[in-house]
């Protein structure tokens, strides 16, 4: 009891000491102090915890610390934020909950009504988490609003409309908090939207800028669309990007062109779909772009979280942007200029002979979707998807959950109709024992595979690496597991009883390292036993 009281006092002190999540705190990340302040843990997208209590030697003792059962169940993709003793999560379809990190007991809950009746075309009614800045929690809603909540009690401070849900615009992405502004993207890549990324004043919700991912008439890149097809060119921005404060540059992935599988109606490269864009966060202006899949006809959104690393590359210190793209290739770019430096497949792919000197894929003819169906690897869901990779500065390896699955791609006629599906085909994926998954460790500079851990089926779980030399991941069969970060050797696992389609995080409670993941309709947290 005395110990428990002591813990409460420590947390209470921590809360009163900070209480405000300043931009400086976000810059620092404070991961070593046990917080997890942004979607990926730090602005560079590492999803890495510097806490090192849990190691290869003791991870076999890891046990459940607490479980939080979501009230309404549903499909849970939330990536928690942990700050000052509180974990903030989203629950589908439109709830934010604040939990005590010591017990999992709920502190408050805010629910936006009628979210189960929203228009979500081509994706489930999910949400991937919140952003925190100052004493405010920010969440996007399925009916396409950005809402600001008081971090202490969940009371709504303001809301602002980001897009029209009537036309298929929606928000599933966790916002990103910068200095005084909140960055938020939109979903709607299967509804023929014209995608964009927005910045809002964190204090009052006033829109500061909008970057359209599809250039309008007169803008560079508009000529990569035939006729008026840019108006329905999609390019959604549904996964949280990363930020380099030194370069003052925001990097954000852009999704597929619309319609997804019938490219005949949109001749050209279709900029800036299936690309990463580098933006000035002051005004949303474009610094550079890199398109992974020009004229994409396989729905290979580039919405993977990029990872920003500063390393020596071919003898010179360079600022790099690395990503394992949904199209099956691993890319290394110079993030100052957008220059392509290196790319190589990290999974089975049958659509490109390789990448040319500029990183453009060298296409193998006959790999387009057809009326009869055309078998191509990777499947529509990609060699990886929205779930996060991880970079460990300790092992200097890039970890990614990989889906080894092919699919028959179909093409069909489609005409745009406002607020209706605008896809033009689909897939029939190879299933069961014809597909499998893996967690792979790649050399961060070359993409060369260092090891893999095979999974029973293609996964939907992100990856967390830790300074204790571990990598955590999950499976669709409910396994949450830890591998040796250097060798991939499995060291610990637990059956959670529900499919894992979420990102793990790491945090600390009174100095004790925890890891957490959403599995099934619950949040699980794990730690070593208190008395060892």
């Amino acid at each position: 009891m005395r110990l428990l009281l002591g813990s409460v006092l420590v947390v209470a002190f921590a809360f009163s000491a900070h209480a405000q999540v300043s931009y400086d705190r976000l810059l620092d990340g404070e991961l070593d102090e046990g917080h997890w302040l942004t979607y990926s843990g730090n602005y560079a997208g590492y999803r890495h915890s510097p806490l090192d209590d849990i190691t290869a030697e003791n991870v076999s003792d890891l046990r459940v610390e607490w479980i939080y059962q979501l009230e309404d169940g549903g499909h849970v993709e939330t990536s928690p934020i942990v700050v000052d003793g509180v974990m903030y999560i989203t629950e589908p379809p439109g709830t934010v909950s604040a939990l005590d990190i010591q017990t999992g007991r709920r502190l408050w809950r805010w629910t936006r009504p009628d979210q189960d009746r929203t228009k979500t075309i081509g994706f489930p009614k999910v949400n991937r988490g919140v952003a925190v800045l100052g004493d405010t929690v920010y969440v996007g809603t399925l009916d396409c609003h950005l809402v600001a909540l008081d971090a202490r009690n969940g009371a709504k401070r303001w809301e602002t409309q980001v897009g029209e849900n009537r036309t298929g615009h929606s928000i599933t992405v966790a916002p990103l908090a910068l200095d005084g502004k909140i960055i938020v993207g939109v979903s709607g890549g299967e509804a023929g939207i014209r995608g964009y990324l927005d910045a809002y004043d964190a204090n009052n919700g006033e829109r500061l800028w909008r970057f359209y991912t599809i250039p309008g008439p007169g803008e560079p890149g508009n000529d990569t669309w035939g006729g008026d097809t840019w108006k329905t060119g999609a390019g959604p921005t549904w996964i949280t990007g990363v930020f380099d404060p030194e370069l003052n540059t925001l990097y954000w992935g852009v999704g597929n062109p619309g319609p997804d599988w019938n490219g005949d109606v949109r001749p050209g490269d279709n900029l800036y779909t299936s690309s990463v864009v580098a933006l000035n966060p002051d005004d949303g202006s474009l610094k550079w772009h890199f398109q992974y899949t020009p004229h994409d006809t396989h729905d290979w959104d580039a919405n993977q979280v990029p990872i920003l690393i500063d390393v020596e590359y071919e003898g010179t210190p360079r600022k790099l942007l690395t990503t394992a793209n949904r199209n099956g290739f691993y890319y290394v770019l110079d993030r100052v200029t957008g220059e392509f430096l290196h790319g190589t497949p990290y999974a089975k792919q049958t659509w490109a002979e390789g990448l040319d000197d500029n990183g453009r894929p060298i296409l193998i003819p006959g790999k387009e979707p057809t009326e009869e169906g055309n078998l191509v690897w990777p499947s529509l869901q990609g060699a990886t998807n929205w779930f996060s990779p991880s970079y460990s500065p300790v092992s200097n390896l890039f970890y990614v959950s990989v889906r080894e699955m092919g699919a028959y791609y179909f093409k069909s006629d489609v005409e745009y109709e406002e607020g209706k599906p605008f896809m033009g085909g689909g897939e029939r994926a190879l299933r069961g024992d014809d597909a499998f998954g893996a967690l792979r460790a790649l050399d961060v500079l070359t993409g060369e595979r260092k090891w893999e851990f095979r999974l029973q089926s293609p996964p939907w779980s992100g990856v967390l690496s830790t300074a204790g030399g571990l990598v955590f991941g999950g499976s669709m069969e409910g396994n949450f597991y830890a591998l040796d970060a250097e060798s991939g050797e499995p060291l610990w696992d637990i059956q959670t009883g529900g499919a894992i389609a979420a990102n793990p995080i790491g945090f600390g409670v009174d100095g004790r390292q925890h890891v957490a993941i959403a599995a099934g309709s619950a949040i699980f947290t794990f730690a070593l036993p208190l008395h060892r």
Binding site: W238, E372, Y408, P421, M423, R428, Y481
Partner: protein, 246 residues
């Protein structure tokens, strides 16, 4: 975009009450998306046959459209989230038309087939309406789920299409005897097996010296040599007559 796909998705329900007039479009889409499991012409395969007057799970085109769009939770039937409303209408129209075709004529005599089923002791492995063994697939409504052609293939070459849940596993633990049986479940770290005597085993994969998936292997013997042509027809006629309990 499309995050997790099949089971969870999509927009509005298909609303058409009338069958689509364009059944060539329906057939084309059906052949591309559905025939892999339900076979060309809806004669059934891995999925149930659809060339029947009344579909068990969908009594009209609205219900069928909804089923095509959302799939069936807990089954292998995925939702077709990427099809437009028109495509779903076209497919459901074509499927409903399949049920209006002349029913498949099986040449055998179902009563004689029932006697062959008993004489061959099929109940040692299979169950019909609660009677028999649970080692092999339950056959109570096999006539609804499989075509005569599929049943013939299974009886002659049973390894050609082993049903889901009956993949044979050969496992040798570090300590203990080898186990051969059917895979009940499997994840990245463990496997659950039902052996030939219908006993459950659960193994950590790391504790197995040998773990082999025996694709194409089955406990079901071939009856291609055991039965003559007439007997085979009779047995198939009997199985095709099994429509489940009302």
């Amino acid at each position: 975009m499309l995050a997790i796909a099949m089971l969870f998705c999509v927009a509005g329900l298909a609303g058409a009450e009338e069958d689509s007039a364009d059944n060539s479009q329906g057939r084309r889409l059906y052949d591309a998306h559905c025939a892999i499991c339900h076979s060309i012409g809806g004669t059934g395969g891995r999925g149930p046959r659809l060339d029947v007057p009344k579909l068990r799970r969908a009594s009209n085109s609205r219900a069928l459209g909804s089923l095509i769009r959302f799939g069936i939770q807990g089954s292998e039937m995925p939702g077709a989230w990427s099809l437009s409303d028109d495509d779903v209408d076209a497919i459901s129209g074509y499927v409903l038309e399949l049920g209006q075709r002349e029913p498949e004529v099986t040449p055998g005599d179902a009563d004689r087939g029932k006697a062959i089923y008993a004489a061959q002791d099929c109940a040692a492995c299979h169950m019909i309406n609660g009677f028999g063994s649970s080692l092999g697939p339950d056959l109570s409504d096999i006539g609804l789920r499989r075509s005569a052609a599929y049943l013939r293939t299974e009886l002659v070459r049973p390894g050609a299409a082993v049903p889901q849940g009956f993949m044979m596993i050969y496992a040798v633990p570090e300590k203990g005897d080898p186990v051969e049986g059917m895979r009940e479940n499997e994840d990245s770290f463990s496997v659950q097996i039902r052996d030939v005597e219908n006993r459950f085993h659960s193994f950590r994969k790391a504790d197995l010296k040998t773990f082999r998936k025996q694709r194409g292997k089955t406990l079901m013997p071939s009856y291609g040599q055991k039965l003559d042509g007439t007997e085979m027809d009779d047995l198939i006629a009997y199985l095709a007559s099994l429509q489940g309990e009302e």
